[in-house]
Amino acid sequence: NAGVTQTPKFRILKIGQSMTLQCTQDMNHNYMYWYRQDPGMGLKLIYYSVGAGITDKGEVPNGYNVSRSTTEDFPLRLELAAPSQTSVYFCASSYGTRIGGYTFGSGTRLTVV
């Protein structure tokens, strides 16, 4: 049981480049989330999805896009990377939002130079 798998683990991008952060879960969770974590700032929600085909913006969606074509996959797309997007990105999933917690992936450390 792999849980939530994120790739790549590390990436350096140049300003203006684009990339996709991959996230896959094998727990049949309906809900999936993308967070970014910056030092001293806690976890900020970028986008979330309540099921295949349904996505919505979180607190900090600007500069990002998502899609959810299957229950398992929830990729995060960065268009025109900027230094402000340097961060650690975590994907998470859960059965629902009512109770319990999230299962997080191990993160993608992104640097934009």
């Binding site: 001293g40 806690g42 976890l43 975590f90 998470a92 939002t97 109770i99 319990g100 997080f104 191990s106």
Partner: protein
Amino acid sequence: QKEVEQDPGPLSVPEGAIVSLNCTYSNSAFQYFMWYRQYSRKGPELLMYTYSSGNKEDGRFTAQVDKSSKYISLFIRDSQPSDSATYLCAMSFFLTTSGTYKYIFGTGTRLKVLA
């Protein structure tokens, strides 16, 4: 004022000490309270969650919620070097406008247990 406040630490304690980690919050709508542990360069992992005021115990860990004071705590007994990590509190409440739960994380407290 932030919705959830958490002292960033770092907090250094000797092995075997009792550790107290705390969060305060401002929104009385929060219903569910969680604690996550995050090791360096890893994702957060859920330690405990509680719904009501009072205590919940799991091995060496005790989560305490005081809704009247808007204050939650995590106690670690007989702390071990392997407990060295960042501990994040989290809390959630139901948003009637969207039909989903709003989930807020604290910024985390870095704990170091010295052998």
